[in-house]
């Protein structure tokens, strides 16, 4: 080690206990959190498909569960996680293509992603409940 004085314990970035919260770090963490939630949420999709394959009675009980209060809460959470991960995932693909790295553009796209995900969730459920 270079002789630059006694060892100092520097924080490892991003250390969330001292890191100042900002919209981009929140969205980055949310991307992972919704990714994990959606991976667990595939259980709902598998349950629905397997119930349908098992026959009319199992399908009806699955539809009943999804239509119940708990089912609808799970579905709203799943829908928001999906729309968020989808919108923010598109933002990631745009970054991968080399665009959208300026700070003001990133803040703007963050707000667009949050708005779009929430808007799409509300719209999906309004249309869904009308169709029901």
């Amino acid at each position: 080690m270079a002789a630059d004085g006694p060892a100092t314990s520097r924080p490892v970035s991003p250390h969330i206990s001292i890191y100042r919260w900002q919209i981009n770090s929140v969205l980055s963490i949310l991307h992972r959190a919704t990714g994990v939630a959606l991976a667990v949420g595939t259980l709902l999709l598998v349950y629905w498909l397997v119930s349908a394959a098992a026959g009319p009675d199992a399908y009806r009980s699955a539809q009943g569960f999804i239509g119940s209060f708990i089912g609808q809460i799970l579905l709203i959470g799943w829908a928001w996680a999906l729309f968020y991960h989808l919108c923010n995932g598109i933002r990631h693909l745009v970054w991968d293509a080399g665009y959208g790295f300026d700070l003001s553009g990133m803040t703007r796209s963050s707000i667009i992603v949050l708005g779009a995900a929430t808007g799409m969730t509300v719209l999906a459920f309004i249309i869904g409940w009308i169709v029901w």
Binding site: V36, A39, T42, L49, A52, L82, I90, L93
Partner: protein, 126 residues
């Protein structure tokens, strides 16, 4: 001219030429999932509260069944390699990380296979 010795090449040292495979597959499945997820959400909204007959009639359309299977393959693959990256970031113990990753991949593969077989069963009316 390569400065690598024939023995190093034989032992498979050096670049394996598949360093970006994981990264690329994550993007490829993401790109596929954009239209597939939108199609799926719109479909299930229009099927909200649908009868068993209407639902099975929908899945028995070959295009619908194919799109559902494509969605399931892309979803479970994307989930498996996405979770792997999270484990690599947050589980520092190598053995524990590997065990969690392998168990995750086994579970997701099984869930994927079960749901794909359910779709095939519905599609062919078994």
């Amino acid at each position: 001219m390569s400065i690598r010795t024939p023995l190093a090449v034989a032992r498979n040292h050096g670049a394996a030429k598949d360093g970006v495979h994981h990264w690329w597959m994550q993007r490829l499945t993401a790109l596929a999932l954009v239209p597939l997820a939108l199609w799926f959400v719109i479909s299930i909204i229009s099927m909200a509260g649908a009868s068993y007959e209407r639902f099975t009639g929908w899945v028995s359309n070959p295009l619908v069944a194919a799109l559902l299977i494509a969605l399931l393959v892309a979803t479970f693959y994307h989930a498996a390699i996405g979770l792997q990256v999270i484990y690599e970031d947050y589980i520092s113990n190598h053995l524990r990380r590997r065990i969690v990753d392998v168990v995750t991949k086994f579970i997701l593969t099984l869930l994927g296979l079960v749901s794909i077989i359910a779709v095939i069963g519905l599609a062919v009316g078994v």
